[in-house]
């Protein structure tokens, strides 16, 4: 059902975990559709110094989270914002049709984490 790349990321997910005192957090999904993803970011000079995630969900959801974290690592915030579900799916060698929308929320969770960071900044938080 899944591509080799999806299986590889599912079996060996990158960057699983939480960041202590993260600069931004983004959570998406709900248990009815089946997938919940939380992304944590650490920002240094407008770049993503660290990205970690926790995901409740199917094989695709876990592989997507892992891939997004890998794609985002080291990118500027603006670059990371340009990671779309389509790009993630392409990097993973495709996702099953019915999994595309509900399991492919990783980019959205990352984007929310960046928004969360920017909001905190605007309010005059640290950095």
């Amino acid at each position: 059902m899944y591509s080799e790349k999806v299986m590889e990321h599912f079996m060996n997910p990158r960057n699983v975990g939480e960041i202590e005192n993260p600069d931004g957090v983004g959570e998406v999904g709900n248990p009815v559709c089946g997938d919940i993803m939380t992304f944590y970011i650490k920002v240094n000079g407008n770049r993503l110094e660290d990205v970690k995630f926790k995901t409740f969900g199917c094989g695709a959801a876990i592989a997507v989270s892992s891939m997004v974290s890998e794609m985002a690592m080291g990118k500027t915030l603006d670059e990371a914002k340009k990671i779309t579900p389509r790009l993630v799916a392409e990097e993973l060698g495709g996702l099953p049709q019915n999994k595309f929308h509900c399991s492919n929320l990783g980019a959205q969770a990352l984007s929310k984490a960046i928004d969360n960071y920017r909001k905190k900044q605007a309010k005059g938080g640290k950095k």
Partner: protein, 395 residues
């Protein structure tokens, strides 16, 4: 790596004796049972024997057995065929909320054709209360269909009591016995049903073959028109090798049932008791006592079924799950939801179904590989993180 097949609810393997019985009908005995020459006679005699074997399995008369192409076809035939045959009397039907889709979707199709449908709820064990059926009977009710047991959670329903109620009201009663016939004792006289579905691939027979018992005198409208096969009730040249296989599987099931039930129940009891002892926040789903001998179904909190299934598969263990992610429609099992489980819990559904080839070592192996899989997924789960930090979200 050890390979452990624990998905007998999906399908069982073919017994060697069944395969042997089928082979001549794939070779030299290829005749069409409708024909009047020697080739036809041989095929027809084989069909007669098989019909008798299936009838004996469920305490029916041979002339009350109709062969079909699958359990799904049997259910479609029973629900649509019996409702349509009586539509002049009324257009109301009753099914339970946890029926297999082949019953539930047939009932919904009847709804589109102008019938009224009432679903009977179940309790948290997946059990139908006969009184709940009684309450829903109307003057225009022409069919009640309640499954004998549910394959996902293993709960066995009080069919005799329900049949007593439908008989009082003179309403035909069908039961989907696809997961029970050939597995536990099923007798149409004792159950008191008017129609009963069964399928070969649930008890070590071939796939693509089912049967429908219809009590003598009960009306049913054919779904397939054509020749006069199966007493004019199901047209189409019969799948003779599969029919022969179904008959042989029925005979073996009847002979070996007691020892099979004992073996399966033992393995099931071990897993039901020992797995939750090793994994916390794991609940058994289905009825604690009235359940299928080979069925051990659970929900594991804070993680999702498909990822569990995939990691178990990577360890050589085949299981199934009722999570939304494992269904093509991306909806959590309607059975678990009807039992009142939250979507969050239903997402963690995992189902182990034992077969006669499974051994103690298979249980040992699951007990060994399952806890680290759950731990691994929980370490990844934001729900588990939330629970460990706040104590919220557990059940």
């Amino acid at each position: 790596m050890r390979k452990v097949y624990l998905d007998h609810a999906a399908t069982t393997p073919l017994l060697p004796e069944v395969r042997e019985a089928m082979l001549p009908y794939l070779d030299e005995l290829f005749g069409n049972p409708s024909c009047l020459h020697d080739w036809g006679d041989a095929a027809r005699e084989a069909m007669d024997t098989a019909r008798e074997q299936v009838a004996q399995l469920i305490g029916a008369g041979a002339d009350e057995i109709i062969f079909t192409g699958s359990g799904t076809e049997s259910n479609n035939f029973a629900v649509k065929g019996m409702a349509l045959a009586q539509q002049s009397k009324g257009k109301h039907i009753i099914v339970s909320a946890i029926e297999h889709f082949s019953v539930l979707h047939s009932a919904k199709t009847l709804e589109k054709w102008g019938f009224k449908l009432t679903e009977v709820p179940v309790d948290r064990y997946g059990m139908v209360d006969p009184d709940e059926v009684r309450k829903r009977i109307r003057k225009d009710t022409v069919l009640v269909s309640i499954m004998h047991a549910n394959g996902e959670v293993g709960t066995i329903e009080p069919i005799e009591e329900i049949a007593g109620i439908t008989r009082e009201h003179n309403i035909p009663f069908h039961t989907d016995a696809i997961v029970t016939a050939g597995t536990i004792p099923v007798n149409v006289q004792e159950l008191g049903v008017d129609a009963l579905s069964l399928a070969g691939n649930q008890f070590y027979g071939p796939k693509g073959i089912g049967a429908l018992y219809v009590r003598k005198g009960v009306r049913i409208m054919p779904l397939l028109d054509g020749g006069v096969q199966e007493g004019g009730r199901r047209a189409g040249t019969e799948n003779v090798p599969a029919v022969v296989g179904l008959g042989k599987a029925a005979e073996l099931a009847k002979n070996d049932m007691a020892s099979r039930v004992k073996h399966l129940s033992h393995l099931r009891e071990r897993l039901l008791a020992e797995l939750p002892a090793r994994i916390d926040h794991m609940v058994v789903t289905g009825h604690p006592e009235n359940r299928l001998p080979g069925n051990a179904s659970f929900c594991v909190e804070f993680i999702e079924g498909e990822s569990m299934l995939m990691l178990l598969n990577s360890q050589g263990v085949a299981v199934t799950s009722g999570s939304a992610c494992t269904s093509r429609a991306l909806k959590a099992s309607h059975v678990l939801i009807a039992m009142g489980l939250s979507h969050e819990i239903a997402q963690g559904s995992v189902l182990f179904t034992f077969g006669i080839d499974n051994a103690e070592e298979d249980v040992d192996y699951v007990l060994e590989v399952m806890p680290p899989i759950v731990e691994r997924l929980r370490q990844m789960s934001p729900l588990y993180a939330k629970f460990t930090k706040t104590g919220k979200g557990g059940h």
